[in-house]
Amino acid sequence: MASQISLLMENQPGALSRVIGLFSQRGYNIDSLSVAPTQDSTLSRLTMTTSESREVIQQILKQLYKLIDVVMVQDLKASEFISLEMALIKVSNKSEVISKIEKNYSSLEFSELDNKKEKTILRLIGDTDTLETLLVELNDDLIEVTRTGALGMTLGDVSLETEEETKVIY
């Protein structure tokens, strides 16, 4: 499974481009990326998955933390964590698709979002690998797919939190 990195960054214009820029600048690959503000509106939380090696991930973590706009970084794999993502898929042969899902993909949560039209939108939630296997199987049935990218969070007491602020006095 790909590694997941979560980070808190300033919710400011330019911050996201610095994070993404770092990946292209240093030649790291990102598989997926998701970002939105947290309960603290001055901070955004970003989750990314990458299939880079352990050594490269160590470098990525350090390089990310070095960015002034990045407040805290976490390698989710370093402790127990959960990971999931959501996908919306549009299909025309709804009943066939649903039976495929029910038969082989019981770990995925799914619901029908729009049953008034011929082409239906289904919502799927689950772990990335299972979702991807399903999407491969459904390939011919899919009209449109959109995914959030993986989200993750460590369990229990281990949390991604900001450090204390540093006050610099002159």
Partner: protein, 579 residues
């Protein structure tokens, strides 16, 4: 006393003054005009008008390297900003604290492809430590304060402040307050190294038989040269400096084995490849040092001290990483050695080996003695003459090419911050403008710019700036009538097929060129005339002298590491190699 109301342009300049900046280098233009008006109205911050924005940043950079204080450049939007880019990248690669303030089109025009609009934050993003787009006039003082703090703390680096024109609107006034402190979220600055690691480092020295101290630009940046020297004296093993680290340990000390790496000395590279302990402080295992990383230091335990954790284990995995400020860590190490004592005699055998290497193929620092029938000047002799004339005390800036490597090899820098060159980016054109920055900082000191006829032409326009401000720099042009370093590679790897390294007959008459700017030009063609000309140049205290020295066009820089090889695989001359 309540603070008076001032506009954004005045606030910007006043904030610079409050940051103890008294000198900025720049070039005006539309988007920066309010700021230039603010400059006109005061006298605390002097503005130096350069002739090209690249030079403004290089000058600020040279000032910063020589003084340890941040340098400042001011440019307008669009072409002014893009011209500054090479300067910013140069400072970034060598971790130099430079603050670049760029004008920008008014906020409401951003994104509309307005006249002289360019996305400066976007263009500069990969080559800055951080950047700001000013969002309101009121935040200008805080942004300035943060910019200087970020540029100068931890591992230093350039910071860009992009200022939309409306932020400096003369008619919009607000209360000026310069912040006394700053709150930064998650901005750790490393200080001490962990005590047990300090002890472990000394133990590694105790159990080593063939250690080496390898120091880089970080030691100079951290002002840790004194500590490095003291520590090295206590340990007593060979010391080598990188191109960026020259002067951190005195180049004329017997314990110094010269620069290492691509054009390092034979003994330094041999020491690195046979060492059983490599102690790296403030260097980054750059590819110009390690040669092939998979063949690097295979027998050696490695210690790495760095203020930037991302430099550790980036290229070369180490056994003991000490994250911290080089100066503080070195002080801790000194304490540790002093309290436990250290027996240097354990390295006696190692030193006899090192001395044998030095004797076999060390650099000849007495080449001025060599005479030849045609009285041709070798480039190394020019550097040795410069060294003699200035007693090794000058500030020496350089450009990029063979002349740079000869200067690094033969000018035995005794002090830190006196060797000013673009190591990381290798920017031709850096030499003259950076020398201007140094000369402004130290008007009484000898400042030499060692350059080549190729490089000097990349910022030659600054001869005019030097005239305007009366900067008596000595330009030592190692004129080999070719892009010598490129030619050397074409000799070695392309069967002597000289592709685009010659200017044919188009080189200017540098003497006349210098004179046309009101300077002195001297041309030297004979070895027998070299020393006198050099002395004459430096004797003219208030004149910029362009010393155009015609040197042997066929000389190569040696030693040279063989591409893809280990550090012991070197070419020692045109027909001698170690592999």
């Amino acid at each position: 006393m309540s603070n008076e109301e001032i506009n954004g342009g005045d606030a910007l300049i006043r904030a610079l003054a409050d940051e103890n900046i008294d000198l900025i280098f720049g070039y005006p233009g539309g988007a920066a005009l309010h700021i230039y008006d603010a400059i006109y109205k005061q006298n605390k911050v002097q503005h130096i008008l350069v002739r090209h924005e690249q030079a403004a940043v290089h000058a600020a950079d040279g000032y910063a390297r020589a003084t340890g204080k941040p340098g400042v450049a001011l440019v307008t939007s669009g072409p002014g900003a893009t011209n500054a880019i090479t300067g910013i990248a140069t400072a970034y690669m060598d971790s130099i604290p430079v603050v670049v303030i760029s004008g920008q089109v008014a906020s409401h025009l951003i994104g509309s492809d307005a006249f002289q609009e360019t996305d400066m934050l976007g263009i500069s993003r990969p080559i800055v430590k951080h950047s700001f787009l000013v969002q309101s006039a009121e935040e200008i003082p805080v942004v300035i304060k943060k910019a200087f703090h970020i540029a100068t703390s931890g591992r230093p680096g350039p910071v860009v402040i992009d200022v939309p024109k409306n932020m400096t609107d003369p008619n919009y006034k607000f209360e000026y307050k310069y912040p006394k402190d700053l709150v930064m979220r998650s901005f750790p600055i490393l200080g001490k190294g962990q005590d047990e690691k300090i002890a472990a480092a000394i133990e590694l020295f105790r159990s080593a038989k063939k250690p080496v101290i390898y120091s880089g630009g970080g030691t100079i940046q951290a002002d840790a040269s004194k500590e490095l020297t003291e520590f090295s004296k206590l340990i007593g093993c060979p010391v080598t400096n990188t191109l960026m680290g020259l002067g951190a340990f005195p180049g004329n000390d017997e314990q110094f084995i010269g620069m290492l790496g691509m054009h390092g000395t034979y003994e330094a590279n041999m020491v690195m490849s046979e060492a059983d302990l490599i102690f790296n402080v403030g260097a980054r295992f750059d590819d110009r040092i390690t040669n092939n990383p998979s063949k690097f230091g295979l027998e050696a335990k490695k210690i790495h001290i760095d203020s930037d954790p991302s430099s550790i284990d980036k290229i070369i995995g180490v056994d003991l990483a000490i994250e911290g400020d080089a100066k503080i860590v070195m002080q801790q190490l000194i304490e540790q050695v002093k309290s436990t004592g250290f027996d240097q005699s354990i390295y006696k055998d190692w030193w006899s080996k090192v001395e044998a290497w030095r004797k076999a193929h060390g650099l000849n620092h007495d080449m001025l003695q060599l005479k030849n029938e045609k009285d041709i000047i070798l480039p190394q002799q020019v550097i040795q003459s410069l060294y003699q004339t200035t007693n090794g005390d000058a500030y020496v800036t350089s450009d990029v090419g063979q002349h740079q490597m000869f200067a690094a090899q033969y000018y035995k820098f005794k002090d830190p911050r006196k060797w000013i060159n673009s190591g990381g980016l290798g920017t031709m054109g850096f030499g003259l403008p950076s020398a201007m920055g140094v000369k402004f900082a130290f008007p009484e000191a000898d400042v030499a710019c060692v350059t080549g006829e190729g490089s000097i032409q990349m910022c030659i326009q600054e001869l005019s700036t030097c005239g305007q401000y009366g900067l008596p720099i000595k330009i030592v042009n190692l004129n080999n009538r070719a892009l010598g370093m490129v030619k050397q590679w074409q000799d070695m790897q392309y069967g002597g097929r000289y592709s685009s390294i010659s200017y044919e007959d188009s080189l200017p008459d540098f003497v006349k060129l210098a004179e046309s700017f009101g300077h002195v030009g001297i041309k030297v063609e004979k070895l027998s005339e070299l020393n006198d000309a050099m002395k004459e140049s430096f004797a003219m205290k208030d004149k910029l002298v362009f010393l155009d020295v015609l040197v042997d066009p066929d000389e190569h820089v040696y030693p040279m590491l063989e591409a893809g090889g280990s550090m012991s695989e070197m070419r020692l001359s045109k027909d001698k190699k170690t592999f």
